[in-house]
């Protein structure tokens, strides 16, 4: 039995939500994340490592473009559209992705937009490579974190290595499913919606259709995600379980405990949304004019990344807690 379970007072029938409920799982998941802060932050470290290398390359390009230029002063105070128009005509690769749309909440929303529309692979190659490396990193770390949440006190990197192969197989099945949904079903639905909305004269009607389309597509995406997640939980908990068996078990759990599964996602989704709204108020704009302000803005913006990493880990931990509750653990 994992050591943290001894501290899991939230499962007490007298004081917390009923065992096996979504609330209990989320609560217990949070305890596990809290107990494994350093390991969770390792994932943030990976994000920092990969993105810093790309940002450094961009910084060199920007600096060269700004050397002895008045635009440097304007870019310190805010934005310089004339400079960017000139810069972008020569920009290639990473530099071509740079524009002012990354200011403030724009960075978060733009990336979420690409995610929701299934357009992440349309990003420039270096970003896709970095993204795929990060994805693989999370397959690795996800196994390590789940094992750690499960009570194994070995290092999260080591634990990740133990489970990586089987978790990769589980994830690969998910990739096929997501490719079908986002690569085939979404474009097909988009064509249908456009056809149905061909004569719509009210944007709100079209908006309703669009939201419906994404709700349907993302229901499927999330369904696959839940099956894959629970399969990972099962695969990590039972090293003898094959990827196929884990997926079957995961699917069975999702069907049997659908309410709790959806409940966990709903609770965490609501928290994530609240954090997004909060961040939209805090997100630094373009007006930092000295090193101190730039540093503060950087630190504030990094909290949004940390929050996403923690939310992901919290999700895994909560799902693990739900699965364990079902097994009477």
């Amino acid at each position: 039995m994992s050591s943290h379970e001894t501290n899991d007072s939230s499962l007490s029938p007298a004081s917390g939500p009923p065992p096996g409920s979504a609330r209990a799982a989320v609560s217990r998941g949070w305890d596990r994340v809290r107990d494994a802060w350093p390991q969770v932050l390792a994932a943030y470290g990976l994000s920092l490592l990969l993105s810093l290398s790309l940002a450094a390359a961009l910084q060199v390009g920007l600096r060269e473009s700004l050397e002895h230029r008045e635009a440097a002063e304007r870019l310190l105070q805010g934005w310089d559209g004339l400079w960017h128009a000139s810069f972008s005509t020569r920009a290639e690769g990473l530099e071509a992705t740079f524009d002012a749309g990354v200011v403030g909440i724009g960075a978060v929303l733009r990336s979420l937009d690409a995610l929701v529309q299934g357009a992440l692979l349309d990003l420039p190659l270096p970003l896709v490579v970095a993204g795929l490396l990060y994805l693989l990193g999370w397959v690795w770390l996800g196994g390590g974190l789940l094992a750690r949440f499960g009570g194994d006190r070995r290092g999260v990197i080591t634990l990740g290595a133990v489970h990586f192969r089987r978790l990769l197989s589980v994830a690969a099945v998910g990739w096929i499913g997501w490719a079908l949904v986002l690569g085939s079903a979404l474009p097909m639905l988009s064509r249908l919606v456009e056809h149905w909305c061909r004569d719509v004269v009210d944007e709100r009607v079209h908006a309703a259709w669009l939201l419906g389309k994404y709700a349907l597509v993302w229901s499927l995406v999330l369904a696959i995600r839940w099956v894959v997640d629970y399969a990972k939980v099962i695969a990590v908990a039972d090293p003898s379980c094959s990827a196929g068996s884990a997926l079957r078990e995961g699917l069975r759990l999702c069907l049997r405990r659908a309410r709790a599964v959806v409940g966990i996602a709903a609770i965490l989704g609501a928290i994530g949304l609240a954090l997004l709204v909060l961040y939209s108020f805090l997100a630094p704009g373009a007006d930092q004019g000295n090193p101190f302000k730039i540093l503060v803005a950087f630190l504030i913006s990094q909290t949004s990344v940390v929050a996403r990493v923690v939310m992901r880990a919290w999700g895994l931990a909560s799902e693990q807690a739900l699965w364990e509750a079902g097994r009477g653990r």
Partner: protein, 722 residues
Amino acid sequence: MMRVRNIGIVVATMMRARPAAPWLLLVPCLAAPAVGEVAAAPRPVRLAPVVAPGPSSEMGEHGPSSVEVAPQPWPQGPRSPRNANYTMQVRFDPGTKRLQGTQVLRWTNITEHPTQELRYHLYYNAWRNDRSSWLRRAREQGRGFDHVPDDGWAFVDVSEIQLRGAGEAEREDLSAGAEFIAPDDGNLDDRTVLRVPLPRPVEPGQTIEVELRFDAKLPRTFARTGFHGDYVLVAQWFPKVGVLRPDGQWACHQFIQTEFFADFGVYDVSLELPAAWVVGATGRELETQARGEATVHRFVQEDVHDFAWTASPHFSVHERRFEVEGLPPVDMRLLLMPDHAAHRERYFAGTVAALEHYGRWWGPYAYDHITIVDPAYRSKTGGMEYPTLFTGGTRWQSPLLSRSPEGVTVHEAGHQFWYGMVANDEFEHAWLDEGFNTYSTTRTLEAAFPAHARVERYLEGLFAVALPTVVPPERTAGMDAHAGMHSSLKRDPQSTPSWRTGPGGYHVNAYNKGAATLRTLEGYLGWTSFQRVMSTYFRTYAFSHPEPQDFFAVAELVSGQRLKWFFDQVWDDTVVFDYAVGEVASWREDEVPLGYADVEPAKGEADGTHGDRTDEPSWHSAVTVRRWGEGRFPLAVEVTFSDGTRKVEHWDGQERWHTYRYEHPGRVDRVRVDPGHVLVLDTEFTNNAWLREAPAGLAATKWASKWMLWVQHAMEGFAFFA
């Protein structure tokens, strides 16, 4: 060479274009001595009265701080030649999207040449099939139209063309001789120009009446006309007679690209539509009459050169009155789609801004009403101008800082001035209205809606978020997108007839370059002089068809400056302007030169003590400025030294480079070529300044860190699939 006609011809053109109006005054050599070719003209000049210059308030960075002119009211009575007058009865069937109508054209030959034919535009035939010149050109330019649905095509057929005589029974059939012609590209499949031979010449000053029937099918919006669901914007829909130019040649181009051109007249149009549909049109609605389940709406408008209308059962109607001291009142009628109810006041605000600023700067709006149309979502009919009616455009979600609909509203309302009243030939010189209007739009937006920010849209454009700390450049009117040797400005000279421009050339010449040319001219002449130029040109050529040379002549005459060198470059050539700071160096020299010295070192210098000297040696500096582009323009060069001293040089901009040398207590800290950004036509303004110590590293780090955040969140997106 710039083709500037002499003033005599300019005046002749004006006088041919319309009868003398009472407000035309004889102004001999007004304003200042004319120069160059213009000055050589010995004859007095007829121009509209120049509005009185107000208090000397040169432009600040962001436009006039006060209004300088007292706009003159328009006289009562005819303001235009009214030589192309239409009476039409039209029935619209919303089921088939068909229009059936009759038309009586009362046309007067106002040229000095007889003509033995009429030429009609049949614009809707541009989308009759894929052999039309419009669709062929679209394909050539990579704008494919391979997925036109069956109900998307359009046509207009004309029948029973008759020349009316004095009596009702006296009619001569003209249909037999009518034929389609293709004067521009020889495409025999194109049916957008109909030539109708007349049995007898129409002599100068003579008026004829031609009656015809027409049957048209609306397209599924092409070029901002047609239907979208149960919304229609019906423009360029009726057989419209071309313009007989003063030289006796027909200006009646095929509809290939560009916009439109027609003579002024009185339109009396009755539209029969389903009773539930709300209608807006050019002109005032004089009467409505129930006819079964339909309603007949009669619209009448004088002194306009086109007639468009819109209808939908979804429109709600809102009315306001424009009342600003010193300008005539205007009734504003807004037809609003339900999803844009929240933007009602923004439409009115944009219209008021245009009527007020254009009215004060250039001259008052000449009509007593205006109709604002909020086009249906995705109808592709937004941002279009017709006499006394225009379409705006916005989105359900449109943050205040987006200036949508304000921007498009100001622009299209502004077209009532540049297009509606000053009615140049858009087929030939689209920049005369689009460029003038884009310039005026940016000026008005700066004055009336200074708050502006970048707006990002997400989820297929559904949701919009403003980024308030990112302010888009405005002064350049889009010129910032045309950098260096790859500049779009090299595509075609601006003098290229608009209908003949190559791929991508139309927009940049008509809108961006036209606006930047005026903005540059404003900076060169100063606001007071430039405003006088513009208002004189506006007043002089309102209700007529000016040509570029007319504007050039007015500009030289009113400003009193030789401007041929400028117009030659921007209008009749494809040169680009690009001035830059080149090399900058500052150094100190010892009194004794390095190397072999011909003088004895002063006491102390030999042993390095400098003797009694306490003052620091001066800095020697050399600043080289360069002209990378072919265009030449006189500019200021501002040099700032490390001790705070600032020197301003005046460079004629003719040489490829010029070096300024200084001996000064401080070293050169900063150099700026054209510090006031007068030359908005400069395609690469970023290289116009040099800083010894620019915070390049810090700025790059700041922005790289913001970009990095986006990368991290994108990676989090990837991790979703882990």
